[in-house]
Amino acid sequence: MVRKLLDGNGAAAEAMRLARVQVIAAYPITPQSPIAEKLSQFVADGTLKAKYLRVESEHSAMSCLIGAQLTGVRTGTATSSVGLALMHEVLGVASGLRLPIVMPVVNRSLVSPWSLWCDHQDTMAERDSGWIQLYAADAQEVLDLTLLAYRVAEDPRVLTPIMVCMDGFFVSHTSQPVEVPDQEAVDRFLPPYRPQNLYLDVDDPMFVNDLTPPADFTEMRYQQKVGFEAALEVLPEVMDEFARHFGRRYDLVETYRCEDAEAVLVTLGSMSGTGKYVVDQLRAQGQKVGLLRVVSFRPFPADRVRAALSRVPVVGVMDRSAGLGAEVGPVCTEVRAALSAEGRQVPVVGFVGGLGGRDLAPKTLAAAFSRLLEIRAGAPAPRTSQWIDVRADALQLREVPAGVRH
């Protein structure tokens, strides 16, 4: 084990090297490019024995990986934003073929307006793609969740690809000390890849992904549903085993100072660390607040969310994507559904913030807690999403003057 200064991109590349991926196909995109560059460097300097395919798009990158993984090797790529959007069609091929590909995704907003910076709309747009989605909160978690993701994805009960999501810049480019395990330790935890369900013999090729009639389609999809349900069991199993091997413990959700909390904010990704910092500050001032962080968004651990929030009188959810057209953002929609299943009438306030790289700074999260405590004290709870950091001049920004028409 060695302690290194790494950012999230560096941690992702280290994890893929330690997992001994054998075929890489990656297309660079800000803020993911350092992953593509580092993997290329590892292959060039011989510290990673892999074939690196230079492709002309993310659609081709994923297509190459699908073919390679079918022949029985562990594969690697990473992407972000519009790169993930361009992969959309083939993401479903990977998950439908039950190929356990593990892919770091660096969260960046989708166009338009054009932006290089962090929000979660790119991965939220893929939440029904049949991929498991884990959200890392810092560089250490990128390394750890990526390593354990191979074990979960490749488990015969699961056979489902996994996105390991990290916030653009706030994780991908933020350097911190990271404990990097030795190769031997990783080899003990993660054995070589063995295909479980489908194997393509290049000397005796066959047709895969063929036309499936209505008579069978539902059953094929149902197999995927069962895989996701199994993942809710397998993820904690593998996380426990990871803790025994490496000493760091993960779970489907993480609670922080929720015991006697009057208000809890539900978070995803790097905002969780800032949220804990704010919880500590508010607790020191006598405010009873807590935080519930969702680590696995797909599968969504509804039972665990219900259990964690069972006695909390006011709940807030911070969505880092707009959820346009819905009453609230996508994470809040899940939390409301989970709690309503129990018949609880608890107010669940949907916040939207941190879009297009806007920092979810301590003061922004403190403002969200403050709103929740007002509701606890009797203020009405809004049904629709509350844009916590929107500027007052939003509707005048880049406004086209009336009458400009030709």
């Binding site: 302690r3 290089l116 810049f169 994780v171």
Partner: protein
Amino acid sequence: MLQLKLYGLGGQGVVTAAKVLAEAVAVHEGRYAQSVPAYGHERRGAPVYSDLFVDDQPILVKSFVYEPDYVLIFDLAVLDKGVDVTQGCRSHTVFLVNSAQPPVDYPFSRGYGPVYYVDATGISLATIGRNIPNSAMVGAFAATGVVGIESVARALGDIFGKAGEINVEAARQGHAAVRKL
């Protein structure tokens, strides 16, 4: 937790300087550090900044620095380009400035904490042969006591590889030459 803000111009090694200090603290002193670069439409010569957190405990916050305890100014030209280097600063905020002359009559010269200055440009031209003041600046920063000069030297060796030696020399000269206003 200490919070640092590093201001400079594209090409002066501001982002790398934050990483060097983070490596010095987190890897060579066994403490915790986190460097957060601000990326945008950078180009050589445009104002850039990078943020750094230093603590004895793990750092929870994943955000930019808004109330710096230390401000490092790699080039006073950033003030002419409209950068408010005193934004969020408090009465104790310490400044370290790349300047051959005592930086009197600047917005940070009075009303804040101690102001240190060092001719990092002159040192970098003499040692590295180019105007990349970052190594002299991180060496000078060690004089504040936040990080040790030996840790900074080791971090420069890690990060610069073959060019480590001349950068360490620049850092040691910066450390020796830094003065208090």
